[in-house]
């Protein structure tokens, strides 16, 4: 028996609510992939974080380097903008004399005051008042002291300044609100005080401090202005509050910006404390006396101190703005010739040079003696050292071109010790001297000259004299040797 059913119904009925358990392996596969994802997620997170950190550092570095160079320009620009917006200030001597930061402050406070005034009295006649008020608020930074001197005849302490400024600013606002006739006289007074303000030059520190007080005052005074206006039951009180709030936040933001700038300048100095540099130098070896490093016998012999080279790397750390501590590692090899030395082949046990070999280990030079019974030649002594300096430098000039004094000590470790006899045709290795200290010290004194190639790279040249204190152990040498090096290289600041 068959029943006629619509095809769709068959499928709907049979498959609509059909459920079947998937194979267990399906969950296992899902689980594996979920766990893999978790592990994968952990790594990208760290990558992201480190990426963020890197970009932050890079950002800081870029902004630091850019701001460092353009800081002055930016400040000037701000001043220009301000003067463009308020062309009436162009002629005022205050703006010319004041610092750029102060200009910014003045600008801000003037805008604040302007807003307040506009909301308080938007009518035409009071526009003149606004102008006066703006000027007065602008000159506030400097004229506060003068106001005290002239009007109040009181002390010049900062607290007093703050109080008086509040009073004066309040009174200004009052006068603006009440009548405009008074403003004419005010204006005159202001201009007089203004000129007085310019004539007085305060110390930089005082300026800075006043700037901060001016900030506080401007905040406080705007608040007071609101209070006053509410007392007078002026319309649009809410609007005024808003403007004051906005002004207050603007002030705060400005304050933050200024602080940031200050911080940046200090950070800059902190961050560029390290320098690594390479150095290569022609080294001039010499002695203050005629004494021979080998033996007193050679005092009368003519000596030729030769020029050699020194190579090394150094690292500097700036302890302060001017003082740096320096260290590093150099290799240096010096040599000199003692002329007119005669070889004496009759010495027992083989050939010898005319001195009685105390400071010299004589090697068997065999056959050479037989050619010429008494040959004369040159003894060349070569000494190689690894030098570890520890020096301080004091910066005298630090601009693109820099100059510093260098002083310190070096520890020198003996690495090479050889004596060679140069005859007419032959060159005989005689061995090494036994009177050389394995470790000796030198006192260093020099000049450091640098020239900034890029922001972080500089070319350096440092003529340094290194007097050797105790290179020789034996007392029968009357030699006082020194090394003069003309160290040049590239320094990288970080």
């Amino acid at each position: 028996m068959s029943e006629r059913k619509k095809l769709d119904q068959i499928f709907q009925e049979k498959l609509g609510d059909f459920e079947t358990v998937p194979p267990e392996v399906a969950w296992e596969n899902i689980k594996i992939k979920l766990e893999k994802k978790k592990k994968r997620r952990m790594i990208p997170l760290w990558w992201k974080l480190s990426g963020v950190a890197c970009s932050l550092l890079l950002g800081v570095w870029i902004s630091r380097t850019l701001l460092f160079d353009t800081r002055n320009d930016v400040m000037i620009q701000e001043g220009v903008i301000q003067s463009a917006e308020n062309p009436k200030y162009k002629s005022t001597p205050l703006q010319q004399s004041s610092e750029s930061t102060q200009i910014v402050v003045a600008k801000d406070s003037s805008e604040t005051r302007k807003n307040v005034n506009e909301t308080l009295s938007p009518s035409m006649p009071l526009k003149r008042n606004n102008r006066v008020a703006t000027i007065s608020s602008d000159t506030k930074n400097k004229s506060t002291t003068d106001l005290i001197y002239t009007n109040k005849n009181s002390i010049s302490k900062r607290k007093a300044i703050a109080n008086n400024t509040n009073e004066t600013t309040n009174s200004t606002i009052h006068s603006m609100n009440s009548n405009r006739l008074a403003t004419k006289t005010d204006e005159k007074e202001r201009t007089i005080k203004y000129q007085e303000a310019n004539s007085k030059t305060n110390a930089l520190m005082e300026k800075e401090e006043k700037r901060h007080t001016a900030f506080d005052i401007s905040n406080e005074s705007t608040k007071l202005a609101v209070k006053d206006s509410s007392k007078h039951e002026l319309p649009k009180v809410e609007e005024i509050k808003k403007t004051v709030e906005i002004a207050a936040t603007e002030n705060n933001e400005l304050d933050k910006l200024l602080k940031e700038k200050e911080d940046k300048t200090t950070k800059k100095e902190k961050n560029k404390r390290w320098q690594i540099n390479t150095s290569v130098a022609p080294v001039y070896y010499n002695s203050l006396t005629d004494g021979s490093p080998l033996d007193s016998q050679f005092e009368t012999n003519q000596k030729e101190y030769n020029t050699s080279q020194s190579f090394g790397v150094g690292i500097n750390y700036a302890l302060s703005k001017k003082v740096k501590v320096r260290t590093g590692i150099n290799t240096v090899a010096v040599n000199y010739d003692t002329n007119d030395v005669q070889l004496n082949p009759t010495f027992t046990g083989g050939l010898n040079i005319s001195i009685q070999g105390t400071p010299i280990n004589i090697k068997n030079i065999g056959i050479y003696g037989t050619k010429n019974p008494n040959p004369t030649g040159i003894i060349n002594q070569k000494m190689g050292y690894v030098e570890v300096p520890l020096e301080l430098s004091y910066q005298v000039v630090n601009k693109r071109f820099g100059l510093e004094f260098i002083g310190g000590v070096s520890t020198l470790f003996l690495t090479q010790n050889s004596i060679t006899m140069k005859l007419e045709q032959e060159k005989i290795n005689l061995g090494g001297a036994n009177n050389l200290n394995t470790v000796h010290y030198s006192g260093n004194l020099g000049l450091g000259l640098k020239y900034g190639i890029m922001k972080q790279l500089e070319f350096k040249i440092e003529p340094v004299l290194k007097y050797q204190f105790n290179p020789f152990s034996s007392t029968n040498t009357n030699s006082k040797t020194y090394i003069f090096g003309l160290y040049s290289g590239i320094g990288f600041n970080f």
């Binding site: 068959s2 006629r4 499928f11 498959l15 399906a26 994802k37 978790k38």
Partner: protein
């Protein structure tokens, strides 16, 4: 664990919550996979990948509508992505006819499943979406990025094929097994 706790657990990638969710809903969703896929193995793959998508997207589930409905929707969308881009020759659009009436005895689910799976991809998808899951042709057209007419035509073709298979193999209805 309540359903909300379960979902929140899954949102936090808690493997136990994920397993519990899977255990609870996989039979229902696996049947969907079987209907929409070409064969059992592909159905399993689609289930696995579909659940991974569900776990990935579960943070966007905002408790509006049933969880099962949401999961099914996500799963179907995932499967459609697998098959809708398959190359498929466009067919002449026939007029849609009335539902085909057939005679049937006790046709097994397995057999029905088999013949659905054997349908060409587009026919299978359209048939499932429209007949089993009740999507309109307009919706199907947008889901598969085809014309409404094409959807209707595909459905008609699917029905014809299914009918032919059922009628032609009425003797084997009970003998088919997967």
């Amino acid at each position: 664990m309540g359903i909300e706790q379960l979902i929140n657990g899954c949102k936090k990638n808690d493997i136990k919550a994920q397993e519990q969710l899977y255990r609870e809903f996989s039979p229902k969703l696996f049947s969907v996979c079987l209907k929409y896929s070409r064969n059992y193995a592909e159905a399993q793959d689609n289930l696995q990948d579909g659940f991974l998508v569900i776990f990935k997207k579960i943070h966007s589930y905002s408790f509006k509508g049933s969880l099962e409905g949401w999961m099914k929707k996500v799963l179907i969308n995932h499967i459609l992505q697998q098959y809708r881009n398959e190359v498929f020759l466009s067919l002449v659009e026939d007029h849609v006819v009335e539902d085909v009436e057939i005679e049937y005895d006790d046709i097994s689910i397995d057999y029905l499943m088999k013949i659905i799976q054997e349908l060409p991809d587009r026919y299978r998808l359209v048939f499932n979406l429209n007949v089993i899951d009740g999507y309109s042709h307009q919706k199907i057209a947008s889901m598969l990025n085809i014309k409404v007419g094409t959807s209707k035509s595909n459905l008609h073709r699917a029905r014809m094929i299914l009918k032919e298979k059922i009628e032609g193999n009425s003797d084997n209805f009970n003998s088919y097994s997967k």
